[in-house]
Symmetry: C2
Subunit: 246 residues, 2 copies
């Protein structure tokens, strides 16, 4: 048995999130189904990031133990024709038998895409969140920098969390504009439930002047979810970069 | 009765093209249904461009005669909540009673979007066509310029056309690269059936070296559809700009 690591890209629009569930269509469920069909044996992948319903991925990571002699690099070519067109394996490679994608030190980057105009073309609706009010992306960028470093992010975590600690390390927050799109890019070792979407919802309020930079400092200190902005919708979020640091 | 002109944006993925058909879901059919529901009277729009199944639009134009006293500018706000989320009215305004969008001199720009890489993220699949082989967009741009002007575009027209003449005037052809995307932009007064998709299919062959610039001159002169490249898939095409010139 070889352990195979795969990089997975997906359009999350039509799925109930990454993690396998009974009676719901998920990315992980589709991967398990396709791999089990390919190898004619029940296979369950172990995923790195359990992205929410509607969230997209360019590079989530999964491992599985392959009950065949196929070269690990060829797995992506064998499995892609068996997957629906909104899920695709970018590459596959062999890793050590004890490699576990959730037990590694990682740097993950999520991007939150905002369409900042009164009218959003329907071709953007699945991948961007429309904000009518003009956003000052430079102010948002400054406010985002407050969050960089190791902090207790309890204010930026859904109350439905099951995490044992709400301390996380954020490596960078950058906000840029590309035409009518404003993109919030957050890199960290790990994230709490809904964390990037709550950061986005808060920075959007900074962008249109409802909150200022010292408000963001106070929200972080408060360790109280009710102090931060709303959870921005799932469609704007994409897991865009994933590095194993070990 | 006021005649109202509306600018319509749509994601064509789930429709059998723009033009209304029995037993098929179309953009025009959805507009007729929503307007008829709003005004409680049967309404049929007249559309400017009959885009194909799967082709997208940022700015197609339609007119209809409004059996109500509503200000024409307000129609877009009234109708959008009645339309599916993949069709949206950008604006609406009053025009003269005899305004007909297909009897006007127009300049329309279509963009053809190519994803030029071996791997295309699933989030791009509905709006770009993947070409694995590296494309030289500068060569494609030079070859595209051959087509500018008034010519008989019979070589670039589907044999299924019903047009009485295959002479058309192309105002500009520009090919640019934006990262992994190569975008072919074609502006003209009017287009033949599948014309931009056949131009795209031909310029792609120039881009990877199967044809050169003098081949494109010869294809144009030949007035023979079999000489040109294939019809590129609908998903990559979007009607991106529309001007009435009178």
């Amino acid at each position: 048995m070889k352990r195979v690591l795969m990089c997975v890209a997906y359009d999350g629009t039509n799925y109930s999130g990454f993690q396998a569930q009974d009676n719901a269509d998920t990315i992980e469920g589709q991967l398990n189904k396709a791999l089990s069909a390919l190898y004619k044996a029940p296979i369950e992948v172990i995923g790195a990031s359990r992205t929410d319903a509607g969230v997209h991925g360019l590079c989530n990571m999964v491992v599985f133990d392959m009950p065949a002699r196929m070269p690990a690099e060829k797995v992506s070519f064998a499995i892609n024709p068996l997957l629906p067109e909104d899920i695709s394996i970018v590459w596959s490679k062999e890793v050590s038998d004890d490699f576990h994608p959730r037990h590694m030190l990682t740097a993950k980057t999520y991007e939150y895409h905002i369409y900042n105009d009164e009218f959003m073309p329907p071709t953007k609706r699945l991948y961007t969140y429309k904000v009518n009010r003009p956003l000052d992306e430079k102010l948002m960028d400054q406010a985002g920098k407050i969050l960089v470093g190791e902090h207790d992010f309890k204010s930026f975590c859904s109350v439905n969390t099951t995490a044992t600690t709400t301390v996380r390390n954020i490596i960078s927050v950058d906000v840029r504009r590309e035409g009518k799109e404003v993109i919030i890019s957050v890199c960290g070792n790990g994230f709490l439930y809904n964390m990037v979407r709550i950061i986005a919802g808060t920075l959007i309020e900074v962008g249109y002047g409802k909150r200022n930079i010292s408000d963001v400092e106070n929200i972080l200190k408060a360790c109280d979810r009710t102090k931060a902005g709303p959870t921005a919708p799932a469609c704007g979020l994409i897991l865009s970069k994933f590095e194993f640091l070990e």
